[in-house]
Amino acid sequence: MSLYRSAYQRWKGEHLGIWYRRFAIAANGFQNAWANKWVRNIVMAAWLFCLVQTALLFGIGQLLVKDSVIYTLVEQLQPQLQTLANGLMSWIVAHPEISVRSTYSFLFYFFAGWFKVFSLILIALIIPALISRDLASKAIIIYSSRAISRVDYFLGKFMTVFALLSVAWLLPVCTAWLLGGLLAPDWSFLWHSRMALFKSATYITAAIGFLSLLAMGVSALSMKEKSATVYWVVLWVLGNVISNIGRQTEPWLRHLSFNYNLEQLALKLFQPRVELTLLQENVPVIGNLLRGVRVERFPMFQDPHFNGAVIACLAMTILAILILHMKVKPE
């Protein structure tokens, strides 16, 4: 009996559609990334931060509960401080639309910085397997001979990074918001903090989309897997150094750092300066104290260089797409 008759049967099923194939690329990429224990550790660290954020949001909620631990603590304070704390808490109860919104905004802004660091580390870990590996092993030749276009391949890779960063950033933040709201004594917290969530989700989606494309471009730059990580770290660190130099010399230099540009986008969306002004004008006693904050000393209270950041991000995105176009082909 011939080999053919003994072993081979052609597969005769229906081929699934293009989105299934794109998701297959993304899912395989995700699985490969997840196989790295450092990736799992970083994602776990991000979720621990989610718990911290949830705990803080829970604490804010407890300010509204008369018999909560916070009240017990306040009762043990000196009379003057007690008056101050009671006044503050009364205001929070009276004006949740301002207190909840501002507190959440500040917290989400603060945590966005940390989550961004986790995401940048994650990218450094997964970047070798993203495109460099396909180029180094020449497996790109086989992938490009399948029933997918280059755009499909890129979309699949993009979804790989996007999904991973979502698990490490977008999902923890959304979870923290949900848990914070659910654990609050009053579920109106969910409503009053909606803008903070919206701003966060918008910022994170834009940031991880941008970072995903940037990571793909950097990964396509290198035919050696380890070099891809080095390129990414150099781009990150060098960008920060140049950005700091730019602060004291040529301001446009700051936009060479993708990190700086993302920071400007965050400032534009979260508007900590506006939130500060709101608190200064509305919070009794503490508002007066906040008026003493010298805003010029804190970068977070400066006007964001939004237009420059958007242009720089667009330029970096176009550069990444150009690199992908030029480097990722079987020739």
Binding site: H15, Y20, R146, A147, G156, K329
Partner: protein
């Protein structure tokens, strides 16, 4: 005559100033077709154009009537086994085949059965399935590459030097698989720089050199055409020099070699039609004594060597 499955029309491909393919026209019909030519002949470039890896610099290439570049419906019908090492070293074969299968639109539920079946088919021993591809020998890698090309049940299988690195037994097995696939209705284009590898397998041959198609068509037709084009005779007679002089003066030769010590004249015929018309008369009128006339055997391999020399 059956409709061509692959067509090249004024097809050229440059790499900067280097010409990979030079304005070629060809048609490949159903069945197993051998693509033969020495290294650098343009075989891989042609295959890359057919599999949609490259765009033509000018002209057109059509596979099943469509341009394959960036055209997934056409690519779905093609299975491609590249010449180059192209396996991700850190993956195991079953995982890799599953991933590729899904990228080809095969549902996840078909795995691992389908991948196992394919690995059995290409005779990759089960004991190696747990190893990473980076640990495989060249022959084992070739088998995995062949398996991935067969995965999505393509209508056209394109194999670039698939026998490289395989031992004789494995070559025979691959040959059997390809014959079986051909019987199943799968068309196959297989390239090699060693013609003998393909001679027994292929019905049709496309011979290339210097980026051009030198000959194409059914194997026997090519043999006939090319043997006429460059037929070589060896005649043993009493005066080989005189015979050479007569044939040369009649403008019948492309070239000759007198081996005086053996009374032999070896010569290449310019136009076999005219030559054989006049050959009898010339011999009679020359008065030469002819002891032996021998036509050099024209195996396809010899023809290939001759035309690609």
């Amino acid at each position: 005559m059956s409709t061509p499955i692959i067509q090249g029309i004024n097809l050229s491909r440059w790499y900067g100033v280097v010409m990979g393919l030079n304005n070629i026209d060809f048609e490949i019909r159903p069945g197993i077709t051998g693509l033969v030519g020495p290294n650098g002949a343009g075989k891989s470039t042609l295959i890359q154009l057919i599999t949609g890896q490259l765009q033509p610099s000018s002209g057109r290439v059509r596979v099943f009537g469509k341009a394959p570049w960036n055209h997934p419906p056409t690519l779905r019908r093609i299975g491609y086994c590249p010449e180059r090492e192209s396996l991700p070293e850190q993956l195991k074969p079953l995982d890799w085949l599953k991933g590729l299968g899904q990228v080809s639109g095969i549902p996840a539920s078909a795995f691992p059965k389908l991948a196992q079946q394919l690995l059995h088919q290409v005779k990759l021993a089960e004991s190696h399935w747990g190893k990473r591809l980076g640990q495989y020998s060249k022959g084992m890698r070739q088998r995995v590459k062949l398996a991935q090309a067969l995965m999505h049940a393509p209508d056209l299988l394109i194999l670039d030097e698939p026998m490289n690195g395989l031992d004789p037994m494995a070559r025979q097995e691959v040959g059997e698989i390809l014959s079986a696939l051909s019987r199943e209705g799968v068309d196959i284009l297989i390239s090699s720089h060693i013609l003998t590898e393909l001679e027994s397998l292929c019905k049709n041959i496309l011979i290339m050199n210097w980026g051009r198609v030198i000959a194409s068509g059914a194997k026997d037709e090519i043999r006939s055409d090319l043997s006429q084009w460059a037929e070589e005779l060896v005649v043993r007679c009493d005066h080989p020099g005189k015979l050479a002089s007569i044939l040369f003066s009649e403008d019948l030769l492309l070239g000759f070699d007198i081996q005086a010590s053996e009374d032999k004249l070896a010569f290449r015929i310019k136009d076999p039609g005219i030559f054989y018309q006049r050959w009898g008369d010339l011999l009679q009128s020359s008065g030469l004594k002819i002891y032996e006339i021998k036509s050099k055997s024209q195996s396809l391999h010899q023809i290939f060597n001759k035309v690609t020399a």
